[in-house]
Symmetry: D2
Subunit: 429 residues, 4 copies
Amino acid sequence: MHSNAVQTDQSVLQSALQKFSRVRRTTERICEPLETEDYVPQPIIDVSPPKWHLAHTTWFFETFILSKFLAGYRPFHSRFGHLFNSYYNAAGDRVSRDQRGFMTRPTVREIMDYRRYINEQMTRLENGLSGENPEELLPLLEIGCQHEQQHQELLVTDLKYILSCNVIRPVYHQTQLPAGREKKPHYLVVEEGIYPIGYSGTDFCFDNEQAPHRVFLQPFSVRNTLVTNGEYLQFMQDGGYRDFRHWLSEGWATVNAEGWQSPLYWEQEDGQWFEWTLSGRREVDLHAPVTHISFFEAAAFAFWSGKRLLTESEWEAAARQLNPAMTSFNSLDEWFLHPLPAAGGQENEVLQLFGETWQWTNSAYLPYPGFKIADGALGEYNGKFMMNQMVLRGSSCATPADHSRPTYRNFFPASSRWQFTGIRLGLFN
Amino acid sequence: MHSNAVQTDQSVLQSALQKFSRVRRTTERICEPLETEDYVPQPIIDVSPPKWHLAHTTWFFETFILSKFLAGYRPFHSRFGHLFNSYYNAAGDRVSRDQRGFMTRPTVREIMDYRRYINEQMTRLENGLSGENPEELLPLLEIGCQHEQQHQELLVTDLKYILSCNVIRPVYHQTQLPAGREKKPHYLVVEEGIYPIGYSGTDFCFDNEQAPHRVFLQPFSVRNTLVTNGEYLQFMQDGGYRDFRHWLSEGWATVNAEGWQSPLYWEQEDGQWFEWTLSGRREVDLHAPVTHISFFEAAAFAFWSGKRLLTESEWEAAARQLNPAMTSFNSLDEWFLHPLPAAGGQENEVLQLFGETWQWTNSAYLPYPGFKIADGALGEYNGKFMMNQMVLRGSSCATPADHSRPTYRNFFPASSRWQFTGIRLGLFN
Amino acid sequence: MHSNAVQTDQSVLQSALQKFSRVRRTTERICEPLETEDYVPQPIIDVSPPKWHLAHTTWFFETFILSKFLAGYRPFHSRFGHLFNSYYNAAGDRVSRDQRGFMTRPTVREIMDYRRYINEQMTRLENGLSGENPEELLPLLEIGCQHEQQHQELLVTDLKYILSCNVIRPVYHQTQLPAGREKKPHYLVVEEGIYPIGYSGTDFCFDNEQAPHRVFLQPFSVRNTLVTNGEYLQFMQDGGYRDFRHWLSEGWATVNAEGWQSPLYWEQEDGQWFEWTLSGRREVDLHAPVTHISFFEAAAFAFWSGKRLLTESEWEAAARQLNPAMTSFNSLDEWFLHPLPAAGGQENEVLQLFGETWQWTNSAYLPYPGFKIADGALGEYNGKFMMNQMVLRGSSCATPADHSRPTYRNFFPASSRWQFTGIRLGLFN
Amino acid sequence: MHSNAVQTDQSVLQSALQKFSRVRRTTERICEPLETEDYVPQPIIDVSPPKWHLAHTTWFFETFILSKFLAGYRPFHSRFGHLFNSYYNAAGDRVSRDQRGFMTRPTVREIMDYRRYINEQMTRLENGLSGENPEELLPLLEIGCQHEQQHQELLVTDLKYILSCNVIRPVYHQTQLPAGREKKPHYLVVEEGIYPIGYSGTDFCFDNEQAPHRVFLQPFSVRNTLVTNGEYLQFMQDGGYRDFRHWLSEGWATVNAEGWQSPLYWEQEDGQWFEWTLSGRREVDLHAPVTHISFFEAAAFAFWSGKRLLTESEWEAAARQLNPAMTSFNSLDEWFLHPLPAAGGQENEVLQLFGETWQWTNSAYLPYPGFKIADGALGEYNGKFMMNQMVLRGSSCATPADHSRPTYRNFFPASSRWQFTGIRLGLFN
């Protein structure tokens, strides 16, 4: 990742620290409805305990910023480096990923103390930086905030999963969800040509969005709307989960091994389908975008419907063309409580590019031409996961607002379902 | 299980309810040093979350007593029957055993409310019983208390394991452990003959202690003391964990698969062995009984030392002979904090039969002649686990006082190490 | 194991070598109907490839006899010691048990050459023994023959399993099986008392049959006949495989994990049950003893029927009482082809103790009082497997004749089904 | 797959059947050095038993050609359709993939009879076709031959693996391998531009090589030679297998789980590295291309060396540019015995594109723009495997000659090592 324009004067630093505070508060607000017990378990390996998210994002600032740039900084606790390192081999030893749910200490209260301590220490940076390369602080601070924002989205999806493990399914937040409105889908044509791909602006982006480069695209079309629950239900009712012909070989094996018959969190009662949301159980809204489906299900649906998934280049080219002026249009603060807003915030043409569900592409997560891995521990941020994962584009109702951009590359294994993931269809022309 | 003398007059009921209150308070006192987070996880399948123990023992009284004997009883919560059933298939549906650590709700506070509610409802039994067979109440009440006491011991061993999963190993209770005194071991002879086995008294016993019957024993000898840490260390230093000849085939496979090199909770630093206890880390006390070892380790040690483990009949015959007047000599309230008291409470001849470590026998857990399985759900209490488990005799520092008796049969798989389990040696004459 | 009377004069040696030749020929005769391909696979870990049996039994004679007692003996091949060692850690390195089916070389032809070479070398022993303790030869030769005979039974059950893996199920040997005759079951009473257990004769026995000792038995009754297919079918039709109440906890888990609904090799077609035998598929014979069932199924059937399994002591005491003059009454040469002869060879009272199915007892496989493990590699023969296995008594249609005796202890894990294993019922009086 | 020019006149059919005969004979010649036992096992799930390859390729002709185009065709055996179907769900039921090594019948001899029968029946096609669409025969015949040729390469790599499982490692074929010559590596520049990708000729290609399309490539360079054993040894000696920084996250996990320390088939003795080849063990030839490495190892080596792997588009563009006139330059008949020829057959510039090792690319196996899945069972040929596999380009010493072309897409999971797979490096300019 990098922040393309580096400045170190005082007002810039103050502004960065204000963003830091804002981001940190948001994380804590997400946790407010939780009980202490909800912070502890790791029911599947993908899901981390909320207390771990709270501590790990804090550790990031301590390890990569305070210990380097704050003169005389004293670590909060000598073992936290070990406890809350996620996967940075270069940053030292760490707790095995599948053991996170067994760490009862430090307690939630102690982790909140840890957060407070780090927050306070961070404000001391205003008074002067130490270290050999003070100009590196701002980029690292930006990365730390971006990193914590990524964990905000994981926090939302993880706590949704954790709460769902309770037979007595607790309501996270009682809100009235907007009813979906029916939208007429049609296909928008994108011409053959050479398109720019990747981030070339001057704000922050992650390392995997670079280097900016060109791709040649054959002509194709993209559907303006996401696939709805109603459409997905047709696939189910047509025996979609029981007909091998629609599925990738590994997808078919997964469907059978896991006994999948519907999206995650759906359940049928007396012939009616319900979905479990952060606001409790509700009837499946036929006009809302389908979500909590794996790549395998997205691909099978696309095949069944005679369409296909887009590649990530196609998605990006289409997004730039359709939505040239990218603005912040959603906000984790407002939206994340919703299982799925029935209509995105875009005016005029409803495109649903951002803020509803991530959209599986048919592209594997691989480096762009000219991709460079950073030196040191931060070099482990993205590059080493470029294997056996599929790219998702857009953003979801749980994505922080400024993480929605046409070049953002999200990625998960093809069998993942606990994120807010859905389907956008495309066509060869 | 049965209580051999059944009475239902009022004073007996009052006395039983007083015991009930005492038992319930002890359970809660065990939990006092815990943080809320410590109540949640299930790091290995054998270990249940403390909150689960608290609720399951309560469920037992609700299901088998209140719903049957208290007129107009209203369940605390409609789903708790499902949530806190352990393995009683006959008592309805239940949560899969390996999912207990993912149940964050009800919270600890709600479970404590549940306990309080049940405790209050139980006092109402004094005012009159309903139901078809009120004479069945007292035996069930006794079983409920015994059941909760068994869970007290599990609670202690489970929370020890849970706390040990924290890299920052918390101290459960800071106490000064008594230093071990060296005891000279010698062998006591038991003559050939027919011996009575099993419970034939008039107090409570579990179903697996019956029917009382006779066995013929060849002459044998039993060591007066338990094997000490010092002796076990000699076995380790002699390469005991690396020489297949000492081990059962399955034991050798387990040693290699698990990488065992010492008892559970031991760790070496700079050539010195330490053990982690509920009072924190301390140097291994060479005179204290070795504990937290599997049957496989007990059997390998015995073979290495040229001795053997006793059968459960031999143990029981020896215990009766050596200690004819059984009295309460230990108490969970006082003792359970100790990893291992260095000397049991028996006067005169130190025998260490009870109150220090359970003693693995070379007997598989199987029914006695005349063993009968009770009707209904309680029939599932013991009988259905009589497969691939080894019997342990005596009791440990975590055993409630009145669970120490010569006929008590504890049982665990041969690879279990998280209980306070140790070694008593015997000899053919 | 030991041979109680040791003699070393020439005629005894000649006679022992004649037995050796007889045993070796029988092994090869069992393999005659096989195709080369049938000798290779190991479809489950319990089943060894026939070529492995052929080589391993030969290796036993080479390792424990020829290399010790034949002056100037040159091993057939330098690596065979490694390849065909089964579990004798003390005899050196060995191929991991689950890799036996991947060993394509040496070929069957080469293994037959190996057998011939060893057979020839064995005849040279008549001309004079070398080594420090020539008096040890005869006992070892006896053990080698006994060992090979044990493998003959395994060979039969293993090749039955291997052939069954072929969708096109080949017929091993076409024979006309005798139809079962209906036998009226009744119970024979055995009085309370002290009974001798274990082998105390002067012929060969295995180490696990010793030391001879006494047990006290409560009075009990034993059924004269084995449970038939017809009776077992009633259990099935009564929902036996779907009612947890009949099953041990681990048995119930196994039934569900494996999807068991009938004995191994049974299959239903158009409402009719068939079993696959070494002579091909045939309708289940309702009067023949049920076989290829696990201990779990035997115990569940017994519980369902209101009876129980015997302990191994009860079985032995009953067998001695009922059948005082033990004679050879079956013969592998004649019988092993039969899936189950409908009636054993005993005259007068039909007891079916031997030669039909092994009979699961409710005793775990543990050492007798005074059991001693031999020095060296042969000490690994039996003792180290005394864990998590149940004892079977009697013998089956695949057992060599002279392995049928009242003291013989066979043992398998409670879930094993590929042996000829069945049910004898007993009763408390 | 398709054959772009379809003709059905008699001479074309005769010529196609001659190719059929040639291909069939080659398959059988590959098996000549095998013993019957070698045809049976499946030591890892990737490896199929040679007898299965022999039968499955034959089944393909029977199912897709004879049963459709030969009037009055009678199947060789009613169950072979079930037995030798590989993964074509649409073609009916099939044996689970991990059970292939347990199928001892039909025997090798019977499978050879099956092959002969099918070969004879195929010759009868010359006399006249039946069926609704006789013009479909030739394309299917071509696919059948191509399919069998693909299995020839698998047969070679599978039998190499099978033979390697024998501690006594048999020599498949004794040949004198040419010693490697040192080649000076340098980098060839490929200019930025739009390049044609995919097959657009008129001969046969597989479906995954289509549709032909264009890609835009940034400028890059490609090394003229493959990475040698000597270079790979430097990586090993530099601690390459012990430094997480070189590895993808999943690669690092695999290295540790599998204990990889060198390429497959390498072993060290007295400080010297040897590799096991089809011609027996030999010292590692430092000038020969490294082979039997996974994608993970290829990528780690590339990272360590400061270079990178090419994408498949880059590889194809480079191959077309460097080698415009593709000719047959290797031949399975001559080459497959060699573990790795030290120098490919290309004259002038040594490029080693084909005939030595497959070259891992950094491209996931995904559909080309315009890729279409065929109707019916043949639609399952390639498309459904487009998930979690990496593309390999070029060809190996075991590849049939006419399978070497610049557009051919081979693919395996990133952890596969039993194919002849190696490394070609590239660079961003």
